[in-house]
């Protein structure tokens, strides 16, 4: 599929979802169960991306000390818990990875 078509379709779907209930208001009631399920979308999707990126750097599960990414990722998790600051979390994780790469 052409990259521009991908953007166009992805954009239309995103816009459609943003408009969905604004448009349907009064015409349709969102089911309770769907309302509840939507809350789990961000943590589920984000974790599904984070885990392989951090734990499978070379497409293979690697929890050894040779894999700097899980250690840097853990650093980011701790900084996120401690500071609740997005920018600091990213900077701390990146700094940890650079230091580990430089040192080992």
């Amino acid at each position: 599929m052409n990259i521009w078509l991908v953007f166009l379709l992805g954009g239309l779907i995103t816009f459609g979802m943003r408009l969905s209930f604004i448009y349907l208001f009064g015409r349709f009631q969102i089911p309770q169960i769907v309302h509840r399920a939507l809350r789990f979308v961000p943590p589920a999707v984000l974790s599904a991306i984070i885990f392989p990126n951090v734990l499978m750097p070379n497409n293979q599960f690697d929890l050894s000390l040779g894999n700097h990414r899980w250690m840097a990722g853990l650093m980011a998790v701790l900084v996120a818990l401690w500071t609740k600051n997005t920018l600091l979390t990213i900077l701390a994780g990146m700094a940890a990875l650079l230091i580990l790469q430089f040192a080992f």
Binding site: I13, M17, A72, I90, L97
Partner: protein, 233 residues
């Protein structure tokens, strides 16, 4: 200053702290998108057409991994599903607006715009000019997103390839997911999705990601319903 423009600027002011966090996001996005092999024009257009940060990061990653177009579109849909919840949440506040306004505000309905706007509606109630606040919050975010993406695209080529810039993606997601993990069902949803993503990693077309997301959503929903059986269905 008339009512409409003072409401608009109130929206911009309310959005301001969020803009500070969004700016580096946009920079990273621009640089990552080029790194993933997108052309500068394509990277910028994605910021205007899709206009949804996390799904743009994921799309850049999928293009880098040469995933098929249909899988990318499906992934964008899954990643942005939460916007339906925002739509449901603001619907009653914009119900009396014209269709033109509804369409315009829906385009601007991102995470950060929603966050500032819903607080305003809940505190101030619905006024005849409230939608100008929504527009102020949404437009300022849109503007900063376009500018920061462009700057990231511009600077992106100056960043050496050996820098592990791609690691900014999982780091950004870690920063976004950690504040959400407030109760057991959410933590269980995140962990089960992560585990399935590892186990199903070798599935073709990045389908493991979508499978993992659905398992996580299912686990979270089931656990929550068990916690409060009275509210189930």
């Amino acid at each position: 200053m008339n009512q409409k423009s003072s409401m608009f600027w109130a929206g911009v002011r309310a959005e301001f702290p969020l803009l500070i966090g969004v700016f580096p996001f946009g920079l990273i996005y621009g640089a990552l998108a080029l790194n993933a092999g997108l052309s500068p024009a394509a990277a910028q257009m994605m910021s205007s057409i899709v206009f949804a940060g996390s799904s743009q990061f994921v799309t850049a990653q999928l293009i880098h991994d040469a995933a098929p177009g249909l899988v990318i579109v499906l992934t964008i849909a899954v990643v942005n599903l939460r916007h339906m919840l925002y739509s449901a949440s603001v619907a009653e506040y914009v119900k009396d607006l014209s269709m033109k306004w509804k369409v315009l505000l829906a385009y601007f309905l991102t995470d950060e715009c929603y966050a500032a706007t819903i607080i305003h509606y809940e505190e101030d109630g619905m006024k005849p000019t409230s939608h100008w606040f929504f527009l102020g919050a949404g437009f300022s975010l849109w503007f900063i997103w376009q500018v920061s993406s462009a700057l990231g695209i511009f600077l992106g080529t100056a960043i050496p390839q050996s820098w592990p810039l791609d690691f900014a993606l999982p780091l950004t997601f870690i920063a976004m997911v950690m504040p959400v993990l407030k109760d057991f069902p959410v933590v269980a949803a995140a962990l089960s999705a992560g585990l399935v993503a590892l186990l199903a990693f070798s599935l073709p077309f990045k389908l493991g990601l979508i499978l993992a997301a659905f398992v996580g959503i299912l686990v979270g929903t089931i656990l929550e319903n068990r916690k409060s059986p009275g509210g189930a269905l």
